[in-house]
C-alpha cells in the first residue's frame, strides 16, 4: 500500500513538472523526493523509540524525580546528518507528545550564560505567534525585580502559561561541548528538576561509553536514561541506492563509474548520507543542463516541440555513429540516409529506441535486484551489497562473472525446502521486467512435495549428498571415482524441475545483463561523467597550489616558462619569483637559511649586474612573504637568519 502511494506521489510530481516546465527533469524530481523519503523511513524506528522514551519519562509529572531522564543518541560519525535528524526528531516529538523541544549546538553555547540565554530564547519564543497579549505584560523593570536574561525563571513563568509535559533539550553535538559546561548544565537542570520537567537528549558521534567517561560521577548520578542506536549510514545509503539509482522506475540512470566513485567515497572518506544525495542530485542536474539531447528523455514529446538543433546534437552522439555503422554493415544504406537527412525519421527512431533502451536498462536493474534476492534467500556468502552488484551489472561485466556463476551453481544444488523460499522471494519481484513462469514451477513443486512421503527434503542430482567417492586399488594405485547415487523417482522429477528453472533463469540473466554502453542513445539514458563530479565533490586545494608553484608552466602555458632545453623541471628566470623560491624551498631541509636562499635566487633570477640587485631583492622578499602568507614558512627562533619549513610537498 505504501508502495502504491509512493508511486502515485511520484506520478503526480512528474505530471506537475510536465505541465509547468518546457523541459522537465522527471528523474531529478523523483529521485530527490525518494532520497528524502528513504532517509526518513530508515530512521523512523529509532525516532519512534526516542519519542516513546520521552512520553514514558514524562508520564508521571507530579512524581518527584531524582535524576534527569537522558537519551543518548548514538548517531554515528557523519555529523553533517545530525542536524536534519534532530530536526525531524523535534517534529515527531512535538507532534506526538506535549513537549517543548530545543536543539542546542556547541557553536552557539560557548559558556553557561550564553547557553542559558539561547535556551530561554528558544523555549519561550515557541509560542509567541499564538500569544499576542504578551506585549501587555508589565515591563518588569518599573514594577520590581526583573529576572536576569539567563535565569531559568523565565522558562518557569513561560511554563505557567503553557502547560507542557516536558521540556526536551537536545545537545546536537555533545562531543564538541566543553565537559565542564556539560557538568554545570546537568547540575543546574537537576536542581531545577522539581519545577521544570527537563528531558535531555545527547547526540553522540563516537560511543556512549566515551560520553560517560567525559562526565564526572556526580553528573552521571544526575542522569538516567537509555541508549539509542541510529541506523548505520551504509544501510541508509543502500536503501537510497535501491530507491533511486537501481530503481526500475527511474528514467535517467547514473553510470557505473560514477556510482563506484560515490560509493567508494562513502566507504573511504566520509560517511554522509546527505553528501550521497547531493552527489546524486548534482549528477542529474549536470546531465540535464550540460547535454542537449537529454531533451529526448521527456515524456510524451511531439516532433513539433523540438528544434532542429536537438537532432543535430543527437546525430553527433557516438552511439548514433555506432548505430549507423551497424546499419551499414547490415546493408541498409537507405535507412542510414533517411536517418541523416530526415529529422522526422530520426525522431521516430529515437522515440522507439528510447523506449527499448529504457526497458533494457530497467530490466538490467531489476535483474540485479533478482540476483541479489536469490543470493539473500540462499544465504550465499560473502553477502554482496546490492549497490556493488548493480554497479558491476551496469558496467556490463556481470555475464560470466564469478558471482553469477557461483549463484547459478548453487541453484542447481538447491533442496526443495529452500526452493520453496526462493520461489516465494522471487514471486514478489515478478513483474514487467521479470516475467518467468513462476506459477507453473510453484504448482509442480507443490505436487512433488505432496508426493514426497519422507521427512527429508527433495534433492537434485547435483547435490553433494548424492555423490559418493569410491576408492579402488589397481596395481598399487588408488583410484578415486565419483559416483552418482541412484536417484529416486521423485528426486529425478525434482531434478528435472530445478534444471528447467535453472535454464530459464540463465536465459533471463543473459538477456538482461547487457552492456548498457552498447545501446543507442546510451549517452542520454546514462550519466557517467567523472569530470565535473570530482572537481565539485573532491577538490584538491593543496595539490593545486603545490602544482602551480612547482610547475607554473602547467597553469601559465606560455612559451617562456616551458623550461630550459626541454627540461621542464629546471628553474628559469622567466618563472614567477614565488615559484622559483618555492622550488628551492622544496629541496631544502626543515630549517632554511634565508641568506643562502637569497644567493641561490639571485643566481637564477638576477642578471649579475650589481645595479639591478635591489630589484631582484624586492622580488625575492615578495616571494618569501607570499610563501609565509600561504603558510609554508614561519620565522624560527632556533637559529638566526633561518626560517622553518612547515609544509612538505605531497602530503
Amino acid at each position: 500500500m505504501n508502495l502504491r502511494r509512493r508511486k502515485n506521489e511520484r506520478q503526480s510530481v512528474s505530471e506537475r513538472a510536465n505541465t509547468t516546465h518546457t523541459r522537465n527533469y522527471p528523474s531529478d524530481f523523483r529521485s530527490t523526493a525518494t532520497c528524502g523519503r528513504s532517509k526518513k523511513s530508515a530512521s523512523d524506528a529509532v525516532q519512534q523509540k526516542i519519542v516513546d522514551f520521552i512520553s514514558t519519562a514524562t508520564s508521571s509529572p507530579d512524581e518527584p524525580k531524582f535524576a534527569i531522564p537522558a537519551g543518548l543518541i548514538v548517531a554515528g560519525p557523519s555529523i553533517a546528518s545530525h542536524g536534519p535528524f534532530f530536526q525531524r526528531l523535534g517534529q515527531n516529538i512535538k507532534d506526538e507528545t506535549n513537549s517543548a523541544y530545543v536543539v542546542l549546538t556547541s557553536g552557539e553555547s560557548p559558556n553557561l550564560k550564553t547557553l542559558l540565554k539561547n535556551l530561554i530564547k528558544k523555549v519561550t519564543s515557541h509560542v509567541e505567534d499564538d500569544d499576542d497579549d504578551d506585549l501587555d505584560r508589565p515591563a518588569s523593570s518599573r514594577h520590581g525585580p526583573k529576572l536576569l536574561n539567563y535565569d531559568l525563571g523565565h522558562v518557569q513563568e513561560w511554563r505557567k502559561k503553557n502547560r507542557v509535559a516536558s521540556i526536551v533539550i537536545a545537545f546536537q553535538d555533545s562531543e564538541a561541548f566543553d565537559a565542564g559546561l556539560l557538568a554545570d548544565i546537568v547540575d543546574l537542570f537537576n536542581s531545577w528538576l522539581d519545577r521544570l520537567p527537563f528531558v535531555l537528549l545527547f547526540g553522540i558521534a563516537t560511543s556512549a561509553e566515551s560520553f560517560e567517561d567525559r562526565l564526572a560521577g556526580r553528573s552521571l548520578r544526575y542522569l538516567e536514561g537509555e541508549k539509542f542506536d541510529v541506523t548505520q549510514s551504509d544501510d541508509i545509503i543502500e536503501k537510497i541506492f535501491s530507491a533511486t539509482v537501481a530503481s526500475t522506475a527511474s528514467r535517467l540512470h547514473v553510470g557505473p563509474n560514477l556510482c563506484r566513485r560515490m560509493l567508494d567515497r562513502q566507504k573511504d572518506h566520509v560517511q554522509n548520507v546527505q553528501d550521497f544525495c547531493d552527489g546524486l542530485k548534482y549528477a542529474y542536474m549536470s546531465h540535464f543542463y550540460a547535454s542537449y539531447p537529454t531533451i529526448f528523455l521527456r515524456n510524451g514529446l511531439a516532433f513539433e516541440d523540438l528544434p532542429a538543433e536537438a537532432f543535430e546534437a543527437a546525430r553527433n552522439l557516438p552511439s548514433f555513429r555506432r548505430l549507423v555503422e551497424d546499419k551499414l554493415e547490415d546493408g541498409r544504406p537507405g535507412n542510414v540516409r533517411q536517418l541523416l537527412e530526415s529529422d522526422q525519421h530520426l525522431f521516430q527512431q529515437i522515440t522507439k529506441s528510447m523506449e527499448t533502451g529504457q526497458h533494457a536498462l530497467s530490466t538490467l536493474s531489476h535483474a540485479a535486484q533478482v540476483l541479489f534476492s536469490i543470493r539473500a534467500s540462499l544465504q550465499i556468502s560473502p553477502s554482496i551489497r546490492l549497490s556493488s552488484m548493480w554497479t558491476r551489472a551496469a558496467a556490463g561485466d556481470m555475464v560470466g562473472s564469478p558471482i553469477l556463476r557461483e549463484t547459478m551453481l548453487s541453484i542447481k544444488k538447491i533442496s526443495s525446502d529452500k526452493f520453496v523460499d526462493l520461489l516465494a522471494a522471487l514471486s514478489s519481484l515478478h513483474g514487467d521486467f521479470f516475467n518467468m513462469d513462476l506459477d507453473t514451477l510453484q504448482q509442480e513443486l507443490n505436487s512433488l512435495i505432496e508426493k514426497n512421503d519422507t521427512s527429508a527434503p527433495l534433492r537434485t542430482q547435483h547435490d553433494v549428498r548424492n555423490d559418493s567417492l569410491r576408492t579402488t586399488v589397481v596395481a598399487q594405485k588408488v583410484l578415486l571415482s565419483k559416483h552418482k547415487a541412484a536417484l529416486s523417482e521423485q528426486d529425478r522429477a525434482y531434478s528435472d524441475l530445478v534444471g528447467r528453472f535453472h535454464d530459464q533463469l540463465e536465459e533471463y540473466f543473459e538477456s538482461a545483463f547487457i552492456d548498457p554502453q552498447s545501446i543507442f542513445l546510451s549517452e542520454v539514458l546514462i550519466y557517467d561523467l567523472k569530470s565535473p563530479h570530482t572537481e565539485v565533490f573532491q577538490p584538491k586545494p593543496r595539490f593545486a597550489i603545490e602544482r602551480a608553484l612547482a610547475t607554473p608552466h602547467d597553469y601559465l602555458g606560455c612559451d617562456c616558462c616551458s623550461g630550459v632545453d626541454g627540461n621542464e623541471a629546471a628553474l628559469a628566470a622567466t618563472q614567477p619569483a614565488t615559484a622559483i623560491v618555492y622550488q628551492m624551498y622544496v629541496e631544502s631541509g626543515a630549517l632554511i637559511n634565508v641568506s643562502d636562499l637569497w644567493s641561490a635566487f639571485n643566481a637564477i633570477a638576477g642578471d649579475g649586474e650589481e645595479d639591478n640587485e635591489p630589484k631582484t631583492m624586492a622580488l625575492f622578499q615578495r616571494a618569501l612573504a607570499e610563501l609565509k602568507y600561504i603558510g609554508l614558512v614561519k620565522p624560527s627562533r632556533k637559529k638566526t637568519d633561518h626560517v622553518s619549513k612547515i609544509m612538505w610537498k605531497g602530503l
Binding site: 555529523i79 539567563y150 564538541a176 563516537t206 560511543s207 560521577g217 538516567e224 573511504d268
Partner: protein, 468 residues
C-alpha cells in the same frame, strides 16, 4: 507549633540528627534573639539543607532559602536574594510590598541597601544561602561581605551552608559561629536504611501456595534479611567506595533485586542468609554496582543459579559503535602514533626504504633492561602535541599505495576535531585547519587498538617501546 513539637517531629523525620535539630531550635526561635550569622557545614548527603528547610518551614519564622547552585553569577545571586526575600515577606505577612524600589540589585552595596530598606521595622528574618561555595564566578569578597550583612541589618540572620567550614580568612573575621553536620557513621547509616526495607517479593505469594505466609510475617522477614544485607554491602563495598547515604542507598537498591533472586525463585528460604550470600557473592566482588552509569544495563541473570559465577574482570571492549570510514580510521591511528612516538623515531618506523644503519627498531625491553631503567610505558603518559604535516606524513606511510591529495582528508580532520578525537593543543586560532597549529589525540590506547584491528593493522608494532 510549639518548639518541643517541632523538635519531636523533626527527630522522627530525620534520624540520627537529634543534636543538630536541638541546636537549631535553640538558635532560631521566634521570640529570642538569633545569631546574625551561622555557617552550617558538612559533606554531601548529611541532611543540612533538608533539616534547615523543614525546620524553618515548621517554625514559622519568616525566611527565604536560596539554592546557590541555581545561580549562574554573583549578580544573579544578589537579584535572587532580594526577589525571594520579597516573596517570603509577602507570603508571611500576607501583604503586597511595593516592589518598585527593589528593581535592581547590581552589587553588594545595592543588596545591603535593598535588604535594609526591606527589613526596616520588621521582625526577625532568616536568609539561608544553600551551598554558597558552589557559586560560579564568585568574587573574592562576596562571602566576607555577606558575613557582615548582619552588622548593618540587625534583624537579619544569615545562614550559609558549605561543604567545608568557611575559614576565618575568607570571612575576614576571627570567630564565626558554625554548626557542623558530620558524615553518618556506620551504625547511623545502617539505622537509617533499616527504617524502610524494600520488599523481597514484588508480588506476594498467592494464598493457596503458602497459606501461613501473612503480610506481617513477610514484612518481618524483609526487615531481617535487609538489615543483614545492608551491613554486608557496607562492609564489602560502600566502606571503600562511597560512605555517604546517597551512594550507599543507591548501591543497596541496585544489588537488592539480584540478591534476592534465589529467594524469589524458591531456591532458598527467606532466612537462609548465609547460603544466600555465598551463592550471590559475586555481587559483592564486582564493582558494577558502585559505578555511576547513565544507562542502567541491569544485572544479567545468571544462567544457572546453583552455580555461583565467578566475578569476571573482563571489561567491555572500547570498540567504536559506528565503523569509521577507511581513511578516517587511518588518520586517527596516525594521530595516535604522532602523539605517542617521539618525532626522531619516525625515520626508524616509517621510512619506506630500508637503511640498515638507521632502520633498527629497538627490541622490546628484556627483563634486565626493564629493571635497570624503570620507565613508564608511553601509552600511559599524556599525548604530546604534533604538527599537522607530521600526522599527514605518518598517515601516508601507514597506507599502501598513494592517497590522492583531496580536500576530503581535511574535512575528516575538521570532523574529528569537532568530535574531540583530535584536539588542538594550546589556545590557538579558531580555524581548525590553519597551518602551523599543533594537535593532540583525545582518545586512549584501547580505542586505537580496536580501530587498528578493524583495518587489520596492529598499532602496537608501530609504537615506540611496544606495549605489553
Amino acid at each position: 507549633m510549639l518548639p518541643d513539637e517541632i523538635i519531636a517531629q523533626l527527630i522522627s523525620e530525620f534520624q540520627c540528627r537529634d543534636q543538630h535539630i536541638q541546636y537549631l531550635a535553640a538558635l532560631y526561635t521566634a521570640h529570642l534573639p538569633s545569631p546574625s550569622f551561622l555557617n552550617v557545614h558538612g559533606l554531601t548527603a548529611t541532611g543540612k539543607s533538608s533539616i534547615l528547610r523543614s525546620y524553618f518551614h515548621l517554625s514559622g519564622i519568616p525566611h527565604a532559602m536560596i539554592n546557590v547552585r541555581e545561580c549562574v553569577t554573583a549578580r544573579h545571586l544578589l537579584e535572587r536574594v532580594v526577589a525571594s526575600s520579597l516573596d517570603a515577606l509577602d507570603e508571611h505577612h500576607d501583604e503586597k510590598i511595593d516592589r518598585r524600589p527593589y528593581a535592581r540589585t547590581e552589587n553588594l552595596s545595592a543588596l545591603c541597601v535593598n535588604l535594609a530598606k526591606l527589613l526596616e521595622g520588621r521582625g526577625k528574618f532568616v536568609l539561608v544561602l544553600d551551598a554558597v561555595d558552589k557559586l560560579r564566578e564568585a568574587g573574592g569578597t562576596l562571602i566576607a561581605a555577606l558575613g557582615r550583612l548582619g552588622e548593618s541589618i540587625p534583624n537579619l540572620s544569615l545562614i550559609l551552608t558549605t561543604t567545608l567550614p568557611l575559614p576565618p580568612s575568607s570571612l575576614h573575621h576571627p570567630s564565626t559561629p558554625t554548626l557542623s553536620f558530620p558524615p553518618y557513621t556506620r551504625p547511623q547509616l545502617l539505622a537509617i536504611l533499616t527504617h524502610n526495607p524494600p520488599k523481597t517479593f514484588l508480588t506476594a505469594p498467592s494464598a493457596e501456595d503458602s497459606p501461613d505466609y501473612t503480610p506481617d510475617l513477610a514484612a518481618e522477614d524483609d526487615a531481617w534479611l535487609w538489615s543483614r544485607f545492608i551491613s554486608a554491602v557496607f562492609d564489602s563495598l560502600s566502606k571503600h567506595t562511597g560512605r555517604d547515604l546517597l551512594s550507599f542507598r543507591s548501591c543497596c537498591m541496585k544489588l537488592w533485586r539480584p540478591f534476592v533472586e534465589p529467594v524469589m525463585s524458591g531456591q532458598f528460604g527467606t532466612r537462609d542468609f548465609s547460603r544466600l550470600i555465598i551463592n550471590r557473592r559475586h555481587l559483592f566482588q564486582l564493582e558494577d554496582s558502585v559505578l555511576d552509569r547513565i544507562i542502567n544495563t541491569g544485572e544479567t541473570p545468571t544462567t544457572n543459579p546453583l552455580e555461583p559465577s565467578t566475578p569476571s574482570k573482563k571489561r567491555i571492549a572500547r570498540t567504536p559503535a559506528h565503523a569509521l570510514p577507511f581513511y578516517t580510521t587511518h588518520l586517527l591511528i596516525a594521530a595516535y602514533l604522532a602523539s605517542y612516538n617521539p618525532s626522531r623515531t619516525d625515520i626508524t618506523y616509517f621510512m619506506k626504504h630500508t637503511d640498515k644503519r638507521k632502520n633498527r627498531r629497538r627490541t622490546t625491553n628484556t627483563v634486565a633492561n626493564a629493571t635497570k631503567a624503570r620507565k613508564i610505558s608511553r601509552h600511559l603518559l599524556t599525548p604530546s602535541p604534533f604538527p599537522l604535516d607530521r600526522l599527514l606524513a605518518i598517515f601516508r606511510a601507514l597506507l599502501d599505495g598513494s592517497v590522492p591529495q583531496v580536500a576530503d582528508v581535511y574535512t575528516q580532520i575538521a570532523t574529528l576535531t569537532s568530535l574531540r578525537l583530535l584536539v588542538r593543543a594550546g589556545a590557538g586560532s579558531n580555524d581548525a585547519l590553519e597551518g602551523g597549529g599543533r594537535w593532540r589525540v583525545g582518545f586512549g590506547w584501547e580505542y586505537v587498538r580496536a580501530l587498528g584491528r578493524s583495518v587489520n593493522l596492529e598499532v602496537g608494532e608501530y609504537l615506540v617501546g611496544g606495549v605489553d
